[in-house]
Symmetry: C2
Subunit: 425 residues, 2 copies
Amino acid sequence: MKKKPLPVNVLYAQSGGVTSVINATAWALIDEARKKGGDLGEVYVGSDGIVGVLEENLFDVKRIPEPVLARLPYTPAGAFGSCRFKLGTPEKKPDEYERLLAVFAAHQIGYFFYNGGGDSQDTARKIAEYCKGRGHPVRVLGLPKTIDNDLYGTDFSPGYGSVAKYIAVSVLEAALDVASMSATSTRVFILEVMGRHSGWIAAASALAQKRVGDPPHLILFPERAFQAEDFLTRVRESVESRGFCVVVASEGIRDREGRFISESGGQDAFGHAQLGGVAPVLAQLVGTRLGYKNHWAVSDYLQRAARHLASRTDWEAALAVGRGAVRKALTGSDGVMLTLLRTAGSPPRFRVGEIALDQVANRERPLPPEFIGAGGYGLTREARRYLLPLIQGEAPLPYAGGIPDYVRELPRRWLRKRLPAFAAR
Amino acid sequence: MKKKPLPVNVLYAQSGGVTSVINATAWALIDEARKKGGDLGEVYVGSDGIVGVLEENLFDVKRIPEPVLARLPYTPAGAFGSCRFKLGTPEKKPDEYERLLAVFAAHQIGYFFYNGGGDSQDTARKIAEYCKGRGHPVRVLGLPKTIDNDLYGTDFSPGYGSVAKYIAVSVLEAALDVASMSATSTRVFILEVMGRHSGWIAAASALAQKRVGDPPHLILFPERAFQAEDFLTRVRESVESRGFCVVVASEGIRDREGRFISESGGQDAFGHAQLGGVAPVLAQLVGTRLGYKNHWAVSDYLQRAARHLASRTDWEAALAVGRGAVRKALTGSDGVMLTLLRTAGSPPRFRVGEIALDQVANRERPLPPEFIGAGGYGLTREARRYLLPLIQGEAPLPYAGGIPDYVRELPRRWLRKRLPAFAAR
């Protein structure tokens, strides 16, 4: 009996909250896969992450016009659609796993690449284990991506360097604004940044500091319980000594009892509390208790998609994991997530490595306690040594008519479905 | 009797809310004044606007180190300090006017340049009229600056083009983010922008639109009464037809009874209500009534100081009014504000003109009603024709260590005071 050839088609999908450089990873992966020519077959994309894979909403990147594809490395957010969707366990949701195998088989998928954060790597792990258990010949690789920088096993996550740069620059600029006005007007400025559980993004706000006393004067980390009286004392000290105070607050700060300082009451798809509105709460506190005129901003999605201010280091890392994933898959890697490893040099460089998915999944990488200094409101030197390399370099992009020339909407010419309908949502 | 020589020293000060290009105006004025050599004397700056002039807090730009001065055209916010301070009338506050004349005389000021928005031009007008009435030989010129674009008599105000570009790009980027996630997560994104009385900034959010239906899907202008039911219907229509909805709301929107949708309760120095927090109110409305997962952002000071994303057209206009002010002052202009005039060509160019301060002061330039289209929630073609030229071109700036190389704090070597102390504040 003739041995059936192994499937060699590639399937890529994006998952979780987007970043300004995840499409760079996608583009590099596609480009590398095409260069490999005969070793790989077609390159398909699942629309809206694993949801599109389950629903067999796939398309062939060959059918994306070249001028569109060429703009992908510069386009923020998830051009192929992302999702917040967690697979059940094979025991509880066997139909989801059967379906994935059916889709892989129907489209001769030999390589499945899933690009996302912690939850997405867990999804990749489950799929990898299930395929292995069933003897299904598909290599599953996770590609790292998250603005939260909380992925275990990689020096940093592509997406984080760019949000870090955006926040550092935005705080510097807003601080110059407040400093200009503080003689007769605004004294306190509060910026709320993302970071549900960890202060990685808030920490980046200090990267424009050159000297002790430079803004931001107070960083509120979710790792430290918010203590209103201490906070107010420090705000007053800053205003009295410098004339103004710049505060950066992580959305996830809580009081000593563990209650979020602000909670919208909603929940996301995974049952996490949906947060927002820490800045106005702090602003009201400062206004009521100290009487200072204040302003506040909430950067929210602006920070996550700000490709116009991406870090070159971050962008190059995003490209590197895309190319690296294809190379590693071809040399046998399976059930792993791509990682970034820092060289010892100064400035450090980053090369691509890998780690087993079961080591990554459901683990988090907390902001190290030794990174928080200045009485719990600032950064240590050690933190700066780690963080500064990640925001180095600019990543210019083409503009057209005054606006970045992003891919607005990717034309999706669907692959013909070969299977019965399946409703994942 | 020998005729006393006319005073030829220059005094410049910045006033009102800052912009990302007001320091470009300052630099161009200083540079042009130095080039004029013998026609002009020393170039002084008043710290914190008219407050510093009253308090005789002046410094000589000669004493600013050259490497610092060279970075001024790229530095956002008000490097010399700005203020929110409105002079009284000469009848009610004669001491303020006497003091200004005394400061002008003590430092032989022949040219006073005041760089600000509507309130600041009114200050310039009062000073000009008082000096003329008293026969004091000083030429007073206003330089336009405001992100609000509400200055009368100029095609646009330097500062507005850059905030317009920032908002247009930020909305495009955030919209790509929402579109990526909307299959399983966020459906509605709301961005709150500045604009207390007018929708100029909100209008700019539509400048990245290429086709009908492109985000933002709804713009809430302060010129139109906010009608919750109509708003909710349109949000639902957008989500049902496109999968998501992007809303841009001006901070100053009110209901039919004229009540601000959100009001912090505070007041600024001029008795204007201090606003903030429209976005969370709208988000709660959308969540409660329509049940859509939503995100919201408030750009606040981030938008006003975002030099990293300045418009080249705007930046060049800021430079042009700085140089133009010196040239016009030397050829006899007095009691005028510099203006920008649009040429008829396509693309249009801008040249520098002037208008009498008494025509500008206390007048506003509203967003023309014919600029608001799409049922009150969008822009007309006419609006685009006016607005698009203002965001053309990028204005790159030097970075150092991943961060824009801005002037952080200008060294201020004070002029020796020649007058008794005077407390303006």
